[in-house]
Subunit: 184 residues, 2 copies
């Protein structure tokens, strides 16, 4: 049913998709769709949650890499940005839905930010433990890392992600950050 919702969202856009559209596509009563998704908002959230879960799995795989913490932090951030850029480019309707949820501070997007923060914090804590990163509070540092990279993951900047220099720009900021957290 989440797949059907995805298809309808792509076809009609996030604003116009209704529970009835999904029921029609599945050939079921709209009551049975309502039992799963009691509102239009619940439909949109389910689709976006599925995508964000997928992004989280990709990032978890990076966290399991046996690389040095500075390399792992670079890889984590690059993977995070690339997933967003690809979605914005290849699936603009779903991305618009994600952007709308983020603007509304939906629990789905707040939970996602919480996961990203936990993932960055894990690498920062590893780096402090290994002596690669200077001592500090991993939570505070992880927040600063996400804030400093807003331009590359915050949907408010999606229009700039089509620019050919976005990759070079993000590499510049990532290097600045990694130098910022390293032991001196």
């Amino acid at each position: 049913m989440v797949s059907a919702t995805e298809e309808v969202l792509r076809r009609h856009g996030p604003e116009k998709t209704t529970v009835l559209d999904v029921a029609r596509l599945l050939g079921v009563s709209h009551g049975s769709v309502y039992r799963h998704f009691p509102s239009k908002a619940a439909l949109r959230e389910a689709v976006i949650r599925r995508w964000l879960d997928h992004v989280r799995d990709e990032l978890d795989a990076v966290l399991r890499e046996r690389t040095a913490p500075p390399d792992r932090l670079r890889s984590l951030l690059t993977t995070m940005f690339t997933a967003k850029w690809a979605k914005a480019r290849e699936d603009p309707e779903l991305f618009a839905t994600f952007r709308a949820l983020a603007a509304e501070h939906s629990t789905v997007s707040s939970a996602h930010v919480g996961f990203l923060l936990a993932q960055v914090r894990a690498v920062v804590a590893d780096g402090i433990a290994s002596g690669d990163f200077a001592a500090g509070e991993p939570e505070v540092i992880a927040e600063a890392v996400l804030d400093a990279t807003s331009r590359f993951h915050d949907p408010a900047h999606a229009a700039e992600w089509q620019s050919p220099d976005i990759e070079a720009k993000s590499a510049g900021v990532i290097s600045l950050i990694i130098d910022g957290v390293r032991t001196r």
Copy 2:
């Protein structure tokens, strides 16, 4: 005439302000306003240019401070953010005009970004010369510094600037950046 335009913009908002409104307020023919500002866009740009020139003067004053480059960089960034935050809060109509110009990539806002970049580059170059900052290309580093602080100066983030933790967040990112550029 720029002051009259400012007043009209504040009263009617950036979308609705016309050359005729300004002429009416000044009690002159609209032909004489047109001689100065041939279009609605020219009116808006003149008002925003005046504000941005004022911000630039404030930042130039920071650049003349005889403090160590790391402190000067912190002071430059803090002054830059505070000017934007104050304008967004205290003068929302003018700020909306600025935001619209930035979204349209107006020459006024591109020139402003160019000035900011030159100011950050100047402090970075001073810091490299004094040995406070690690060797590098000041232009490239200055771009990374502005990209890493987008959240605090890019009008796309204006809604977040009302948040009580914006000052702590910006201080966290500035510290990360200054540690990132320092000699190690």
